[in-house]
């Protein structure tokens, strides 16, 4: 075979056929991903017997009563708890992490290498590993079965990732910024709040979005450290709901949709920041 013939890209029918097959495959995969999610949403509008008898069919009389029933059966409370725990843990995690990231990137502190190692070292620890002793500790500290148990645990276990993420961004900001602030007579506190933090907005948005996603979906700690049904967050509450309502599947589907939709919206709205956070967090 001469070199000249191989230089030309393949043309004609085989090429078009390959392209079509490829497109078919990618679109088929889209259906595999999207269909179950749509099925979940549609099933929430059906009746119990429709779900069991004709799972593929559309509802004869779409009804959103299931949402009212789901909210009544506890989902309203779970939703509120999720919002509360998520928003408070976002505040504490982002603040603690931004402070630490500032100290570990813009100023010199004693033992900075050790501190960095201790904080980022937390990245490699699985939550399960601390689980058994945490039960005793949280009980003796009076945190067991309170919102604070989750808020503090979500903070402690996510500070490593979030600090790592924010520090990676802050370290690349130009040195002159701090020097200019210093010449203007700003204290460190003023430099942090007035200069460095505003300049880090893009990565802070990424950090907040990823923390929302984590806290909203977290299951293990929520299962173990909250025992009152009135305190449960959505992931654990939904599991409870599904084991309780074996005769009202539409309500379970409604609860699942209520839990899923906010994160889907968040993903589409904050996509740019989302992708940035994920790729910076894993790639560095």
């Amino acid at each position: 075979m001469s070199a000249v013939t191989t230089v030309r890209p393949r043309q004609g029918l085989p090429r078009i056929l390959t392209q079509l097959l490829l497109l078919g495959f990618l679109l088929g995969l889209v259906i595999v991903v999207v269909y179950p999610l749509l099925w979940m949403a549609v099933s929430s509008l059906k009746t119990n017997s429709e779900i069991l008898g004709s799972p593929f069919a559309l509802p004869a009389h779409p009804s959103s009563d299931s949402y009212a029933r789901a909210l009544q059966k506890g989902v309203a409370g779970y939703l509120l708890n999720s919002v509360l725990v998520t928003s408070l843990s976002v505040v504490t995690t982002t603040l603690f992490s931004a402070w630490a990231a500032y100290a570990l990137s813009r100023i010199t502190i004693p033992f900075n290498r050790v501190v960095l190692l201790v904080i980022v070292g937390g990245l490699m620890l699985a939550p399960t590993v601390a689980l058994i002793p945490l039960v005793r500790l949280l009980q003796s500290w009076g945190l067991y079965n309170t919102y604070w148990a989750l808020i503090l645990l979500y903070t402690a276990f996510r500070v490593p990732f979030t600090t790592f993420l924010i520090r990676g961004y802050m370290i690349d900001l130009p040195r002159e910024v701090d020097e200019a602030a210093e010449i203007d007579g700003a204290t460190r506190r003023q430099t942090f709040w007035g200069v460095i933090l505003p300049m880090s907005t893009p990565i802070l948005v990424s950090a907040v979005i990823l923390q929302v996603l984590f806290a909203w979906n977290e299951f293990l700690f929520a299962l173990i450290f909250l025992s009152d049904d009135s305190l449960k967050t959505l992931p654990v509450g939904l599991a409870t709901l599904s084991s309780r309502s074996t005769t009202d599947f539409p309500a379970v589907f409604a609860g699942m949709t209520i839990a899923a939709v906010p994160m889907i919206i968040l993903f589409f709205v904050g996509q740019r920041y989302f992708i940035r956070g994920l790729s910076e967090g894993v790639g560095k």
Partner: protein
């Protein structure tokens, strides 16, 4: 570097100190030790939170794992390696570990190899909008709680009225119909399949970002040299994203040894312990049987596996930095 004028300890408060006025200029170093130590205030909240809720319990876990707790009196006594010996002789522990290994192997196939090829196919498409839409749609399930996707697949796998059996029926494969999560031979694989559905888009997105960082000229010259799509994938894309592949692989394996949520929601380890994983077996030991020492020993196994993987990851990334 360090600001010379900061002599007063200023904790990072919630409000900005207004009207501090310009502090007097002083030569560097005159602030002395006090100035330097005050910097620790910035990292104190993070260190305190992690010390209390991550490192302290982690250390306690090792102590628990060599103790036996009397559930009636709450007294703990030292039993040496007894818990670990019991663990080594526990067939369900080995079943759980095997299931975690299956989880890891199948996740590597779908969330590393398949995801990499998929990302390359997507990034090879001409329309930027199409690329963006595909990446986002595939990622979608990763944004949703594992409780939701787990419950969703429990419905899909249901013996009657479930989507999967309905599809098999429609395809004339009624013989293959079964109670997917109720059968001890298929339960864990049903869960793993759900997990691949949920997670492949996440690593596809990461690979897509890595592929975008490869200079376009390399592809142009490869095409000019007569390299077809397959050749470009294996001789150009795969070597160029090797770092990302390494990181994704380690993160995936580490995740496979930490699975809990989806198993708990879908089977809780059943039927007949066939779908137990280390996480659920630890839960059952610690919170159903109140056998804290035994549960702590399982936690040590999880710690060992994930730490070895984390060290591998650090070696992997630092080698790249040096190279």
């Amino acid at each position: 570097m360090a600001s010379a004028e900061l002599t007063v300890v200023s904790p990072p408060g919630t409000t900005r100190a207004a009207g501090d006025g310009p502090p007097p200029r002083r030569p560097r170093r005159s602030g002395g030790a006090r100035r330097r130590w005050s910097g620790l205030v910035w990292v104190a909240p993070a260190l305190l939170a992690m010390g209390a809720f991550v490192y302290y319990p982690l250390l306690l876990n090792f102590r628990y794992s060599v103790q036996k707790t009397n559930i009636f009196t709450g007294q703990q006594r030292f039993v040496g390696l007894d818990n670990y010996i019991r663990l080594a002789g526990d067939p369900i522990f080995w079943r759980a570990l095997t299931n975690n290994v299956w989880y890891a192997v199948l996740s590597i196939v779908f969330q590393v190899f398949f995801a990499l090829v998929l990302a390359a196919l997507i990034e090879d498409m001409r329309s930027p909008r199409m690329r963006a839409v595909l990446r986002s749609v595939y990622f979608l399930p990763s944004a949703i709680s594992l409780t939701v996707t787990g419950l969703l697949f429990t419905f899909i796998y249901q013996p009657s009225g479930g989507l999967l059996n309905g599809l098999l029926d429609g395809a004339g494969l009624d013989a293959a119909q079964q109670s997917w999560l109720g059968n001890p031979h298929t339960a864990i694989f049903g869960i793993i399949a759900m997990s691949q559905w949920q997670g492949f888009g996440y690593s596809t997105l990461l690979f897509a970002v890595a592929i975008q960082r490869i200079p376009r000229e390399l592809y142009e010259s490869a095409t000019l040299d007569g390299a077809g799509p397959a050749r470009r994938l294996f001789s150009l894309t795969v070597p160029m994203v090797r770092e990302m592949t390494g990181v994704v692989m380690i993160v995936t394996i580490s995740g496979a040894f930490q699975v809990f949520n989806e198993v708990m929601v879908m089977t809780a380890g059943g039927p007949n312990n066939s779908s137990q994983v280390l996480g659920t077996w630890l839960y059952e030991a610690g919170f159903i049987r109140n056998d804290f020492g035994y549960a702590a020993a399982i936690a040590t196994v999880i710690f060992t596996v994930t730490t070895v993987l984390a060290v591998l990851q650090i070696v992997h990334t630092s080698r790249r930095r040096v190279a």
